[in-house]
Amino acid sequence: MSDAPVLPEGLPTPMPLPDGLDAPYWEGTRNHELKVQRCNACRGWQWTAEYICHRCHSFDLGFETVPGESRIFSWQRPHHPVHPALAAACPYVVVLVEFPDADGIRMVGNLVDPPEGEIPIGARVEPVYEDHTGQPDYTLVQWRLA
């Protein structure tokens, strides 16, 4: 187990949209909280951020902390470095994490300290907040097997 980031510095860094659409998500990650869109009208969860609720077409969307557990829905293990910053980082594991208690929304992240071989689909994972300095500072949400 290590506190080093999963991937080295030098990859494209994330920044909030200039119009503020996803700002509460990025602010949440800085505070080590996982907040995504929830419709104030029909109470459905939605991710990634959009101006309208795809279920009821309300424009009244807030951000709330994602409830319940998170599970590995799919995964891959890149071996070929597609970016110069990844030259010494391969292989690493990318996971698609599902939130069954939040209408099945999903998020992409890296698996910290992954096992060798097959990654267990359906396994519970917990978030690991990975802080970075940048323009602006940002936090990546990584995952660890629970």
């Binding site: 860094t13 994330p14 990634t48 293990r77 071996h79 110069p84 990844l86 690493y92 698609l96």
Partner: protein, 395 residues
């Protein structure tokens, strides 16, 4: 009075043209020159004066704009120009459909569909070295996690397909081996003279698990073009016409949801587009003589074949087997010129051209008596598109 809205049999592909296909970076000619060369070759094939082309259809990511093409070739007039949205090769068959729709609607009389692509002169699709230093929006939820290339973007759908549906790696291997097999009798193919066996596939390096090297398309330089005219005009032209029986485009419910949130995840995006195509074409999967199915990655081909009804999920491991996929003897000959894996990655337009050759009987791997040929473009993207062409006997 209601008239049935269909393109079936209204328009024909009468000309096909390609430049030589090169490994990326090896074309002696500029991308735009390659594009012009392919269009002129298609006109020569059709016996049409290039100045008489009055419409242009292509698809997203083409960097050869219609104003420049029409000016360079001296079109007497330009009456139609159009591009399918999306990215990569998803729009290739849709561009043919749009060209046919324009002709049927009276917008134009002679439309060229083209793709000019020299990855050696622009950015290689398999590399992210040219990406910006910062990203925002939906892409910011995955690019910083080292998920950047097309192989990485589509790998997790394939992992999920294998998990949910029990698709074996050997099924993906069969797709790759069929393309390489067909390329060995196609002198135009970049992988001509480079056969692939099971051991070669299995021992190749990982690109990103579950994709090994030969699950992934090539990166090439070249250009391809097709010429379409109204069916009644096609009869008197130089080549045997390949009539468009149908074309469809789009995707299922929320297929384009951001951050990999499309509800039905392990799909090639053809669950609605497939049935829509067959309805217009008035044929079913069992009527198809030969299939050209876009291989960005082998897993997407397996999904495409299933979602178009060529086999079920349960049948796939047995049906999608090398012996079934090769011409002329297989039950469903697949990617008979070598396709994106072994002929050339011309964003799939080489597959549309190969479908026409099968109807003409001029394929490097002809399927005897082929009357109905199928193409699907760009699986796993939104919009995804497809088309079916047929001989005169199918009208």
């Amino acid at each position: 009075m209601s008239k049935k809205r269909t393109l079936r049999g209204e328009v024909a592909i009468v000309g096909i043209g390609e430049t030589p296909y090169y490994k990326h970076g090896q074309s002696p000619d500029a991308q735009f020159k390659l594009t012009l060369m392919a269009i002129l070759a298609a006109c020569e094939d059709a016996g049409i004066d290039p100045r008489k082309i009055d419409g242009i259809a292509s698809y997203a990511d083409d960097k050869n704009p219609p104003d420049r093409v029409a000016a360079a070739l001296g079109f007497e007039q330009l009456r139609f120009s159009n591009m399918v949205w999306g990215g990569g090769g998803g729009g290739g068959s849709g561009a043919v459909g749009n060209a046919a729709a324009a002709i049927h609607a009276g917008f134009a009389d002679c439309v060229v569909v083209y793709r000019g692509l020299a990855q050696g002169q622009g950015a290689r699709f398999g590399s992210a070295a040219h990406y910006p230093t910062a990203v925002a929006g939906e892409a910011a939820t995955w690019i910083p996690y080292g998920m950047m290339s097309p192989a990485q973007i589509f790998a997790m759908r394939t992992t999920r397909l294998m998990h949910e549906r029990g698709i074996d790696r050997s099924t993906m291997r069969a797709v790759s081996m069929a393309s390489y097999h067909h390329a060995q009798s196609n002198p135009r193919a970049v992988m001509h003279g480079r056969p692939l066996d099971e051991e070669g596939y299995d021992s190749a390096r990982w690109i990103t698990e579950p994709f090994r090297l030969f699950d992934c398309c090539l990166e090439n330089d070249g250009a391809a073009a097709l010429i379409l005219v109204p069916a009644d005009r096609a009869k008197d032209m130089r080549q045997q016409p390949a009539y468009l029986l149908g074309s469809a485009q789009g995707a299922e419910y929320r297929s384009g949801a951001g951050g990999h949130n499309n509800p039905d995840y392990a799909t090639s995006s053809f669950k609605t587009v497939g049935p829509n195509l067959f309805e217009m074409a008035e044929v079913g999967p069992s009527d198809i003589d030969v299939v050209q199915s876009y291989e960005n990655f082998t897993g997407g081909v397996v999904m495409s074949l299933i979602e178009h009804g060529f086999c079920s999920y349960e049948e796939a491991n047995e049906f999608v087997a090398f012996d079934n996929l090769i011409a002329p003897s297989g039950k469903l000959p697949l990617n008979t010129s070598g396709g994106n894996l072994a002929e050339c990655y011309m964003h799939g337009l080489e597959l549309n051209i190969e479908a026409v050759r099968q109807i003409r009987g001029t394929s490097p791997n002809p399927v005897a008596g082929a009357e109905v040929a199928f193409v699907n473009s760009g699986p796993m993207v939104t919009p995804a598109t497809n088309m079916i062409v047929g001989s005169e006997a199918t009208l």
